[in-house]
Symmetry: C2
Subunit: 157 residues, 2 copies
């Protein structure tokens, strides 16, 4: 798996929150039930995002989480880095320590090219892009939740 489940949940939630940013704080309970993610588990994932300054949180009734910045200013790169770290953007394919220009590994040049591209895309794509794309295509965000519409009938895992 490229991204950890935590990371995927975080990205999905961020897109969801960005889609509901007019609503003020969005409760984790709402996110978890719409996106079909374990509530308590999602709690911790979103805590990471708030600790990294990507989201703000607020306790008490009508509390929840909200984006700390404009959705056009939160990149996919930040989201991934906040949860999974930057290793997928920097690490050697063969996991060799010190692999780099000075001491390349046999797969170095092939992987480096892709990695640079991946990094560029991740830094370019924002939550706004993801949300707009989702909205435009009426695309699903989870098994049950479609971005712009109502729950999917008969969606299967």
């Amino acid at each position: 798996m490229i991204l950890s489940k935590s990371c995927i949940y975080g990205i999905q939630s961020a897109i969801y929150v960005a889609a509901h940013d007019s609503q003020g704080y969005v409760s984790i309970n709402q996110i978890s039930s719409e996106l079909q993610i374990s509530f308590h588990f999602l709690t911790k994932v979103l805590q990471q995002l708030t600790q990294e300054g990507i989201m703000n949180s607020y306790r008490g009734p009508r509390g929840g989480v909200a984006l700390a910045r404009q959705k056009s200013e939160v990149t996919l790169f930040e989201l991934i880095a906040a949860i999974d770290g930057t290793s997928i953007f920097t690490e050697c394919l063969l996991g060799l320590p010190g692999c780099g220009v000075a001491e390349p590994c046999p797969a170095h040049e092939h992987w480096t090219k892709l990695r640079i591209e991946l990094t560029a895309i991740a830094k370019r794509v924002t939550l706004k892009d993801l949300g707009d794309k989702a909205s435009e295509l009426n695309v699903r965000l989870s098994k049950e939740f479609r971005y712009a519409g109502s729950p999917v009938e008969g969606a299967k895992g």
Copy 2:
């Protein structure tokens, strides 16, 4: 981590074996000690490769493993598929079931492009390519083992 440790060990070993293909069967003990991989663990990884028909194995003194085909005909794709499976070549970035052209996820188009490129590279690059590159650059394959040379001084993890 993109590839599992098992997969990385398998690829490293395959490169090593390809480099020593004139030697006949290469013992797992030799591979594990030169590549600094746990012997018993490597045993199982290489069993997978033999079960997948990528390597042949032979028991008894002077036994070991050897490539089942020419090194120019074993692709990186096969090695990865044999150990980690093909999910990284097919899976949705956000892990959404059924993500595809018909039902794209918000990150679909960005990831698909990279995935296709990754697949193409993995299918194009062979053990011979990896070995040649390693040999040409006198590149290291592990902390201790340099493909064409002697152990590295002061290599650090």
